[in-house]
Amino acid sequence: MIGPVSFSLDAGECLCLSGPSGTGKSLLLRAIADLDPHEGSVWLDGTASDAIAPALWRCRVGLLPPDSSWWLPRAIDHFHDGQPLSLDSLGLEPGLLGEPVARLSSGERQRLALLRLLANTPRVLLLDEPTANLDPASTLRVEAVIGEFRKTHQAAVIWVSHDPAQIARVANRHLRVSGSELREQTVEHNT
Protein backbone atom coordinates (compact mmCIF):
# COMPACT_ATOMS: atom_id res chain seq x y z
CA MET A 1 0.00 0.00 0.00
CA ILE A 2 1.07 3.56 -0.70
CA GLY A 3 2.51 4.98 2.51
CA PRO A 4 2.90 8.61 3.56
CA VAL A 5 3.61 10.49 0.33
CA SER A 6 3.75 14.08 -0.74
CA PHE A 7 3.58 15.55 -4.20
CA SER A 8 2.37 18.64 -5.97
CA LEU A 9 0.98 19.37 -9.38
CA ASP A 10 1.02 22.50 -11.55
CA ALA A 11 -1.99 23.86 -13.39
CA GLY A 12 -2.32 22.16 -16.77
CA GLU A 13 0.01 19.33 -15.79
CA CYS A 14 -0.85 15.67 -16.34
CA LEU A 15 0.53 13.24 -13.80
CA CYS A 16 0.23 9.54 -14.52
CA LEU A 17 0.08 7.06 -11.67
CA SER A 18 0.87 3.42 -12.31
CA GLY A 19 1.63 0.32 -10.30
CA PRO A 20 0.24 -3.10 -9.37
CA SER A 21 -3.43 -3.52 -8.48
CA GLY A 22 -4.32 -3.32 -4.81
CA THR A 23 -1.61 -0.84 -3.90
CA GLY A 24 -4.06 1.94 -3.11
CA LYS A 25 -4.04 4.11 -6.23
CA SER A 26 -7.83 4.34 -6.23
CA LEU A 27 -7.86 4.99 -2.50
CA LEU A 28 -5.36 7.81 -3.02
CA LEU A 29 -7.68 9.41 -5.58
CA ARG A 30 -10.67 8.95 -3.25
CA ALA A 31 -8.74 10.63 -0.44
CA ILE A 32 -7.82 13.56 -2.70
CA ALA A 33 -11.50 13.96 -3.63
CA ASP A 34 -12.26 13.78 0.12
CA LEU A 35 -14.53 10.76 -0.22
CA ASP A 36 -12.79 8.74 2.47
CA PRO A 37 -11.51 9.85 5.87
CA HIS A 38 -7.77 10.40 5.49
CA GLU A 39 -4.72 11.78 7.22
CA GLY A 40 -2.60 14.50 5.71
CA SER A 41 -3.99 17.40 3.75
CA VAL A 42 -4.74 18.34 0.16
CA TRP A 43 -4.40 21.87 -1.12
CA LEU A 44 -5.76 23.50 -4.25
CA ASP A 45 -4.60 27.03 -5.15
CA GLY A 46 -3.76 27.69 -1.50
CA THR A 47 -7.05 26.33 -0.12
CA ALA A 48 -7.08 23.19 1.99
CA SER A 49 -9.79 20.63 1.24
CA ASP A 50 -11.31 20.99 4.68
CA ALA A 51 -11.44 24.78 4.46
CA ILE A 52 -14.32 24.84 1.98
CA ALA A 53 -17.67 23.06 1.66
CA PRO A 54 -17.19 19.40 0.68
CA ALA A 55 -19.50 19.70 -2.32
CA LEU A 56 -17.56 22.68 -3.63
CA TRP A 57 -14.27 20.84 -3.20
CA ARG A 58 -15.59 17.86 -5.17
CA CYS A 59 -16.86 20.20 -7.89
CA ARG A 60 -13.34 21.53 -8.27
CA VAL A 61 -11.58 18.21 -7.76
CA GLY A 62 -13.57 15.82 -9.92
CA LEU A 63 -13.07 12.07 -9.64
CA LEU A 64 -13.98 9.72 -12.48
CA PRO A 65 -14.31 6.18 -11.05
CA PRO A 66 -13.63 3.11 -13.22
CA ASP A 67 -17.35 2.20 -13.33
CA SER A 68 -19.91 4.91 -13.91
CA SER A 69 -23.18 5.12 -11.97
CA TRP A 70 -26.47 6.54 -13.23
CA TRP A 71 -29.54 7.23 -11.15
CA LEU A 72 -32.01 8.74 -13.61
CA PRO A 73 -33.59 6.88 -16.55
CA ARG A 74 -31.77 8.59 -19.41
CA ALA A 75 -28.22 9.90 -19.72
CA ILE A 76 -29.43 13.37 -20.72
CA ASP A 77 -31.25 13.68 -17.36
CA HIS A 78 -27.84 13.77 -15.67
CA PHE A 79 -26.70 16.88 -17.57
CA HIS A 80 -27.97 20.13 -16.05
CA ASP A 81 -27.14 22.43 -18.92
CA GLY A 82 -28.55 20.36 -21.74
CA GLN A 83 -26.59 18.44 -24.30
CA PRO A 84 -22.82 18.26 -23.79
CA LEU A 85 -20.69 19.65 -26.60
CA SER A 86 -18.01 17.04 -27.14
CA LEU A 87 -20.27 14.09 -28.03
CA ASP A 88 -18.98 14.06 -31.56
CA SER A 89 -15.31 14.19 -30.65
CA LEU A 90 -15.86 11.13 -28.42
CA GLY A 91 -17.55 9.24 -31.26
CA LEU A 92 -20.96 9.26 -29.57
CA GLU A 93 -24.28 9.68 -31.38
CA PRO A 94 -26.47 12.45 -29.90
CA GLY A 95 -29.36 9.96 -29.88
CA LEU A 96 -27.62 7.94 -27.14
CA LEU A 97 -28.46 10.64 -24.61
CA GLY A 98 -32.17 9.88 -24.87
CA GLU A 99 -31.79 6.10 -24.62
CA PRO A 100 -32.39 4.31 -21.31
CA VAL A 101 -29.00 4.20 -19.60
CA ALA A 102 -29.28 0.45 -19.10
CA ARG A 103 -29.26 -0.04 -22.87
CA LEU A 104 -25.92 1.74 -23.40
CA SER A 105 -22.68 -0.24 -23.61
CA SER A 106 -20.18 0.09 -20.78
CA GLY A 107 -17.85 2.00 -23.12
CA GLU A 108 -20.59 4.46 -24.03
CA ARG A 109 -21.50 4.94 -20.40
CA GLN A 110 -17.87 5.51 -19.51
CA ARG A 111 -17.44 8.23 -22.15
CA LEU A 112 -20.72 9.89 -21.14
CA ALA A 113 -19.56 9.82 -17.53
CA LEU A 114 -16.44 11.71 -18.57
CA LEU A 115 -18.57 14.38 -20.26
CA ARG A 116 -20.81 14.56 -17.19
CA LEU A 117 -17.76 15.24 -15.05
CA LEU A 118 -16.24 17.76 -17.46
CA ALA A 119 -19.55 19.69 -17.43
CA ASN A 120 -18.57 20.80 -13.89
CA THR A 121 -15.31 22.27 -15.31
CA PRO A 122 -13.22 20.90 -12.44
CA ARG A 123 -9.84 22.49 -11.72
CA VAL A 124 -8.37 19.04 -11.10
CA LEU A 125 -9.33 15.80 -12.82
CA LEU A 126 -8.76 12.51 -11.03
CA LEU A 127 -9.09 9.76 -13.63
CA ASP A 128 -9.17 6.16 -12.44
CA GLU A 129 -8.42 4.05 -15.52
CA PRO A 130 -10.73 6.13 -17.70
CA THR A 131 -10.18 4.03 -20.82
CA ALA A 132 -10.32 0.55 -19.27
CA ASN A 133 -13.55 -0.40 -21.11
CA LEU A 134 -12.72 1.23 -24.42
CA ASP A 135 -11.51 0.06 -27.81
CA PRO A 136 -8.26 1.63 -29.15
CA ALA A 137 -10.02 4.23 -31.33
CA SER A 138 -12.25 5.43 -28.49
CA THR A 139 -9.25 5.45 -26.15
CA LEU A 140 -7.45 7.91 -28.43
CA ARG A 141 -10.57 10.08 -28.65
CA VAL A 142 -10.90 10.18 -24.85
CA GLU A 143 -7.23 11.12 -24.55
CA ALA A 144 -7.74 13.94 -27.04
CA VAL A 145 -10.82 15.31 -25.26
CA ILE A 146 -9.06 15.27 -21.90
CA GLY A 147 -5.98 16.89 -23.42
CA GLU A 148 -8.14 19.62 -24.96
CA PHE A 149 -9.94 20.25 -21.66
CA ARG A 150 -6.61 20.39 -19.83
CA LYS A 151 -5.24 23.03 -22.22
CA THR A 152 -8.41 25.15 -22.39
CA HIS A 153 -9.02 25.25 -18.65
CA GLN A 154 -5.46 24.81 -17.39
CA ALA A 155 -6.74 21.85 -15.40
CA ALA A 156 -4.37 19.55 -13.56
CA VAL A 157 -4.87 15.83 -14.17
CA ILE A 158 -3.98 12.75 -12.14
CA TRP A 159 -4.44 9.73 -14.38
CA VAL A 160 -4.22 6.13 -13.20
CA SER A 161 -3.13 3.96 -16.10
CA HIS A 162 -1.56 0.57 -16.63
CA ASP A 163 -0.66 1.13 -20.26
CA PRO A 164 2.92 2.38 -20.86
CA ALA A 165 2.00 3.54 -24.36
CA GLN A 166 -0.87 5.60 -22.99
CA ILE A 167 1.36 7.08 -20.29
CA ALA A 168 3.86 8.05 -22.97
CA ARG A 169 1.06 9.74 -24.94
CA VAL A 170 -0.57 11.76 -22.17
CA ALA A 171 1.79 12.29 -19.23
CA ASN A 172 4.04 15.21 -18.31
CA ARG A 173 5.08 13.30 -15.24
CA HIS A 174 4.85 9.69 -14.18
CA LEU A 175 4.85 8.30 -10.64
CA ARG A 176 5.08 4.58 -10.13
CA VAL A 177 3.98 2.84 -6.93
CA SER A 178 6.93 0.92 -5.53
CA GLY A 179 6.35 -0.59 -2.12
CA SER A 180 4.92 2.24 -0.08
CA GLU A 181 6.59 4.96 -2.15
CA LEU A 182 5.80 6.84 -5.31
CA ARG A 183 8.87 6.85 -7.61
CA GLU A 184 9.22 9.54 -10.21
CA GLN A 185 9.74 7.96 -13.64
CA THR A 186 11.13 9.61 -16.73
CA VAL A 187 8.46 10.20 -19.31
CA GLU A 188 9.43 9.19 -22.82
CA HIS A 189 7.30 11.01 -25.31
CA ASN A 190 6.84 9.20 -28.55
CA THR A 191 5.39 12.17 -30.36
Binding site: A53, P54, P65, S69
Partner: protein, 263 residues
Protein backbone atom coordinates in the same frame (compact mmCIF):
# COMPACT_ATOMS: atom_id res chain seq x y z
CA UNK B 1 -72.05 -6.50 26.69
CA UNK B 2 -72.01 -10.30 26.67
CA UNK B 3 -69.40 -11.45 29.18
CA UNK B 4 -67.11 -14.25 28.02
CA UNK B 5 -66.52 -17.27 30.24
CA UNK B 6 -63.34 -19.36 30.29
CA UNK B 7 -65.06 -22.26 28.48
CA UNK B 8 -65.98 -19.79 25.73
CA UNK B 9 -62.28 -19.01 25.23
CA UNK B 10 -61.41 -22.70 25.46
CA UNK B 11 -63.67 -23.40 22.49
CA UNK B 12 -61.79 -20.80 20.42
CA UNK B 13 -58.48 -22.27 21.59
CA UNK B 14 -59.59 -25.73 20.43
CA UNK B 15 -60.20 -24.26 16.98
CA UNK B 16 -56.62 -22.94 16.88
CA UNK B 17 -55.40 -26.36 18.01
CA UNK B 18 -57.36 -27.98 15.20
CA UNK B 19 -55.81 -25.60 12.70
CA UNK B 20 -52.34 -26.51 14.00
CA UNK B 21 -53.07 -30.23 13.62
CA UNK B 22 -54.41 -29.74 10.13
CA UNK B 23 -51.37 -27.76 8.99
CA UNK B 24 -49.06 -30.35 10.59
CA UNK B 25 -50.74 -33.05 8.51
CA UNK B 26 -50.13 -30.97 5.40
CA UNK B 27 -46.50 -30.54 6.51
CA UNK B 28 -46.92 -26.79 6.41
CA UNK B 29 -44.27 -26.47 9.13
CA UNK B 30 -46.01 -23.62 10.94
CA UNK B 31 -47.85 -25.56 13.64
CA UNK B 32 -45.15 -24.98 16.24
CA UNK B 33 -44.96 -21.25 15.54
CA UNK B 34 -48.75 -21.06 15.50
CA UNK B 35 -49.09 -22.68 18.92
CA UNK B 36 -46.30 -20.65 20.49
CA UNK B 37 -47.79 -17.42 19.16
CA UNK B 38 -51.25 -18.40 20.37
CA UNK B 39 -49.87 -19.18 23.83
CA UNK B 40 -48.03 -15.85 23.87
CA UNK B 41 -51.24 -14.01 22.99
CA UNK B 42 -53.11 -15.68 25.84
CA UNK B 43 -50.37 -15.06 28.41
CA UNK B 44 -49.37 -11.53 27.36
CA UNK B 45 -52.94 -10.29 27.10
CA UNK B 46 -53.92 -11.83 30.45
CA UNK B 47 -50.97 -10.09 32.07
CA UNK B 48 -51.74 -6.74 30.45
CA UNK B 49 -55.36 -7.15 31.53
CA UNK B 50 -54.23 -7.51 35.13
CA UNK B 51 -51.83 -4.59 34.81
CA UNK B 52 -54.53 -2.35 33.36
CA UNK B 53 -56.96 -3.41 36.08
CA UNK B 54 -54.45 -2.38 38.74
CA UNK B 55 -53.61 0.81 36.85
CA UNK B 56 -57.26 1.81 36.58
CA UNK B 57 -57.73 1.18 40.29
CA UNK B 58 -54.74 3.36 41.24
CA UNK B 59 -54.87 6.45 39.05
CA UNK B 60 -51.49 8.09 39.50
CA UNK B 61 -49.24 9.86 37.00
CA UNK B 62 -46.19 7.86 38.12
CA UNK B 63 -47.79 4.50 37.25
CA UNK B 64 -49.08 5.75 33.93
CA UNK B 65 -45.64 7.14 33.08
CA UNK B 66 -43.89 3.91 34.03
CA UNK B 67 -46.28 1.91 31.89
CA UNK B 68 -45.79 4.31 28.97
CA UNK B 69 -42.00 4.12 29.28
CA UNK B 70 -42.08 0.34 29.34
CA UNK B 71 -44.17 0.31 26.16
CA UNK B 72 -41.79 2.80 24.53
CA UNK B 73 -38.66 0.81 25.34
CA UNK B 74 -40.15 -2.43 24.03
CA UNK B 75 -41.25 -0.65 20.85
CA UNK B 76 -37.73 0.79 20.47
CA UNK B 77 -36.22 -2.68 20.67
CA UNK B 78 -38.69 -3.90 18.10
CA UNK B 79 -37.80 -1.11 15.64
CA UNK B 80 -34.12 -1.99 15.97
CA UNK B 81 -34.67 -5.73 15.59
CA UNK B 82 -36.68 -5.33 12.41
CA UNK B 83 -33.91 -3.66 10.42
CA UNK B 84 -31.64 -5.68 8.20
CA UNK B 85 -28.90 -3.11 8.69
CA UNK B 86 -28.98 -0.75 11.61
CA UNK B 87 -26.75 1.94 13.01
CA UNK B 88 -23.91 0.77 15.21
CA UNK B 89 -23.77 1.52 18.91
CA UNK B 90 -26.44 3.37 20.83
CA UNK B 91 -27.61 5.14 17.67
CA UNK B 92 -29.21 1.89 16.54
CA UNK B 93 -31.55 1.92 19.53
CA UNK B 94 -31.86 5.63 20.22
CA UNK B 95 -32.78 6.89 16.77
CA UNK B 96 -36.05 4.94 16.53
CA UNK B 97 -36.88 5.23 20.22
CA UNK B 98 -36.35 8.98 20.44
CA UNK B 99 -38.34 9.60 17.25
CA UNK B 100 -41.17 7.47 18.60
CA UNK B 101 -41.03 9.22 21.94
CA UNK B 102 -41.17 12.67 20.40
CA UNK B 103 -43.98 11.93 17.97
CA UNK B 104 -46.19 9.44 19.84
CA UNK B 105 -45.93 11.03 23.27
CA UNK B 106 -46.40 14.55 21.92
CA UNK B 107 -49.47 13.53 19.91
CA UNK B 108 -50.90 11.46 22.79
CA UNK B 109 -50.47 14.22 25.37
CA UNK B 110 -51.86 16.79 22.95
CA UNK B 111 -54.95 14.65 22.28
CA UNK B 112 -55.46 13.90 25.98
CA UNK B 113 -55.14 17.51 27.10
CA UNK B 114 -56.63 19.48 24.22
CA UNK B 115 -59.14 17.14 22.58
CA UNK B 116 -60.35 14.68 25.23
CA UNK B 117 -59.82 16.97 28.22
CA UNK B 118 -60.64 14.46 30.95
CA UNK B 119 -59.60 15.11 34.58
CA UNK B 120 -56.93 14.16 35.30
CA UNK B 121 -55.64 14.31 31.73
CA UNK B 122 -53.68 11.09 32.23
CA UNK B 123 -56.72 8.98 33.12
CA UNK B 124 -55.31 5.55 32.22
CA UNK B 125 -58.53 4.34 30.59
CA UNK B 126 -57.85 6.86 27.81
CA UNK B 127 -54.11 7.44 28.05
CA UNK B 128 -52.87 3.85 27.80
CA UNK B 129 -54.99 2.60 24.87
CA UNK B 130 -54.36 5.84 22.98
CA UNK B 131 -50.63 5.66 23.49
CA UNK B 132 -50.64 1.97 22.67
CA UNK B 133 -52.30 2.51 19.32
CA UNK B 134 -50.02 5.45 18.53
CA UNK B 135 -46.85 3.61 19.50
CA UNK B 136 -47.79 0.46 17.64
CA UNK B 137 -48.42 2.26 14.38
CA UNK B 138 -45.51 4.68 14.71
CA UNK B 139 -43.26 1.72 15.45
CA UNK B 140 -44.33 0.06 12.20
CA UNK B 141 -43.84 3.23 10.18
CA UNK B 142 -40.39 3.96 11.58
CA UNK B 143 -39.23 0.36 11.33
CA UNK B 144 -40.27 0.06 7.69
CA UNK B 145 -38.86 3.46 6.73
CA UNK B 146 -35.51 2.98 8.51
CA UNK B 147 -35.09 -0.48 7.06
CA UNK B 148 -35.76 0.93 3.61
CA UNK B 149 -33.35 3.82 4.16
CA UNK B 150 -30.39 1.79 5.36
CA UNK B 151 -30.92 -1.13 2.99
CA UNK B 152 -31.26 1.08 -0.07
CA UNK B 153 -28.30 3.25 0.91
CA UNK B 154 -26.24 0.09 1.25
CA UNK B 155 -27.33 -1.25 -2.13
CA UNK B 156 -26.93 2.09 -3.90
CA UNK B 157 -23.69 3.23 -2.29
CA UNK B 158 -22.01 3.58 -5.68
CA UNK B 159 -24.75 5.87 -6.91
CA UNK B 160 -24.63 7.98 -3.75
CA UNK B 161 -20.87 8.34 -4.07
CA UNK B 162 -21.10 9.08 -7.79
CA UNK B 163 -23.43 11.95 -6.94
CA UNK B 164 -21.03 13.21 -4.27
CA UNK B 165 -18.17 13.01 -6.78
CA UNK B 166 -20.12 15.28 -9.10
CA UNK B 167 -20.31 17.93 -6.40
CA UNK B 168 -23.74 17.22 -4.97
CA UNK B 169 -24.34 17.79 -1.27
CA UNK B 170 -25.23 14.83 0.99
CA UNK B 171 -28.78 16.12 0.96
CA UNK B 172 -29.10 15.86 -2.83
CA UNK B 173 -27.16 12.62 -3.02
CA UNK B 174 -29.55 10.81 -0.63
CA UNK B 175 -32.75 12.66 -1.62
CA UNK B 176 -34.33 9.97 -3.80
CA UNK B 177 -33.62 7.26 -1.23
CA UNK B 178 -34.97 9.39 1.60
CA UNK B 179 -38.14 10.05 -0.36
CA UNK B 180 -38.72 6.35 -0.94
CA UNK B 181 -38.07 5.57 2.72
CA UNK B 182 -40.58 8.14 3.98
CA UNK B 183 -43.13 6.98 1.45
CA UNK B 184 -42.81 3.35 2.41
CA UNK B 185 -43.21 4.25 6.10
CA UNK B 186 -46.43 6.14 5.44
CA UNK B 187 -48.05 3.79 2.92
CA UNK B 188 -49.58 1.40 5.51
CA UNK B 189 -51.45 4.14 7.37
CA UNK B 190 -52.52 5.80 4.12
CA UNK B 191 -53.90 2.47 2.91
CA UNK B 192 -55.61 1.90 6.24
CA UNK B 193 -57.33 5.29 6.03
CA UNK B 194 -58.34 4.73 2.44
CA UNK B 195 -59.83 1.29 3.13
CA UNK B 196 -61.41 2.18 6.49
CA UNK B 197 -65.11 1.40 6.55
CA UNK B 198 -65.17 0.16 2.98
CA UNK B 199 -62.90 -2.86 2.99
CA UNK B 200 -62.15 -3.16 6.70
CA UNK B 201 -63.86 -2.14 9.91
CA UNK B 202 -61.09 -0.76 12.12
CA UNK B 203 -60.48 -2.80 15.26
CA UNK B 204 -60.93 -0.03 17.78
CA UNK B 205 -64.32 1.00 16.44
CA UNK B 206 -65.43 -2.60 16.22
CA UNK B 207 -64.37 -3.10 19.82
CA UNK B 208 -66.39 -0.13 21.00
CA UNK B 209 -69.44 -1.33 19.10
CA UNK B 210 -69.07 -4.82 20.61
CA UNK B 211 -68.90 -3.17 24.01
CA UNK B 212 -72.23 -1.48 23.31
CA UNK B 213 -71.23 2.01 22.22
CA UNK B 214 -73.51 3.71 19.67
CA UNK B 215 -71.96 3.24 16.20
CA UNK B 216 -71.83 6.94 15.41
CA UNK B 217 -69.87 7.65 18.61
CA UNK B 218 -67.53 4.75 17.88
CA UNK B 219 -66.97 6.11 14.39
CA UNK B 220 -66.05 9.55 15.76
CA UNK B 221 -63.46 7.97 18.03
CA UNK B 222 -62.11 5.94 15.17
CA UNK B 223 -61.70 9.01 12.97
CA UNK B 224 -59.92 10.83 15.77
CA UNK B 225 -57.61 7.86 16.34
CA UNK B 226 -56.87 7.44 12.63
CA UNK B 227 -55.88 11.08 12.32
CA UNK B 228 -53.75 10.98 15.47
CA UNK B 229 -52.05 7.79 14.30
CA UNK B 230 -51.34 9.35 10.92
CA UNK B 231 -49.79 12.44 12.46
CA UNK B 232 -47.80 10.38 14.97
CA UNK B 233 -46.54 7.94 12.36
CA UNK B 234 -45.80 10.72 9.91
CA UNK B 235 -43.85 12.91 12.32
CA UNK B 236 -41.95 9.96 13.75
CA UNK B 237 -41.04 8.65 10.30
CA UNK B 238 -40.00 12.07 9.00
CA UNK B 239 -37.85 12.65 12.07
CA UNK B 240 -36.16 9.25 12.08
CA UNK B 241 -35.48 9.25 8.34
CA UNK B 242 -34.16 12.83 8.33
CA UNK B 243 -31.78 12.25 11.21
CA UNK B 244 -30.89 8.78 9.97
CA UNK B 245 -30.02 9.96 6.48
CA UNK B 246 -27.78 12.71 7.88
CA UNK B 247 -26.11 10.13 10.09
CA UNK B 248 -25.09 8.18 6.97
CA UNK B 249 -22.65 11.01 6.21
CA UNK B 250 -19.85 12.50 8.29
CA UNK B 251 -18.98 16.17 8.78
CA UNK B 252 -17.16 16.22 5.42
CA UNK B 253 -20.26 14.71 3.76
CA UNK B 254 -18.61 11.37 3.04
CA UNK B 255 -20.85 8.33 2.88
CA UNK B 256 -20.12 6.35 6.07
CA UNK B 257 -21.62 2.90 5.63
CA UNK B 258 -19.31 1.59 8.36
CA UNK B 259 -21.78 3.24 10.71
CA UNK B 260 -24.19 0.43 9.82
CA UNK B 261 -24.02 -3.18 10.91
CA UNK B 262 -25.91 -6.22 9.81
CA UNK B 263 -28.49 -7.41 12.28
Amino acid sequence: MITLSNPDLAIAAVLVLALALLSARLQADVSRQLLIAAARTAIQLTLIGLVLKTLFANVHLVWVTLMALFMLLVAGREVMARQKRRFRGWWGYALGTVSMFLSSFAVAVFALVVILGDTPWYTPQYAIPLLGMLLGNTMNGIAIAMDRLTTTAWEQREIIEARLMLGQSWDEAISAIRQQAIRSGLIPIINAMAAAGVVSLPGMMTGQILAGAPPVEAVKYQILIMFLITVGTGLGTLGAVSIGSRRLFDARQRLCLDRLREN
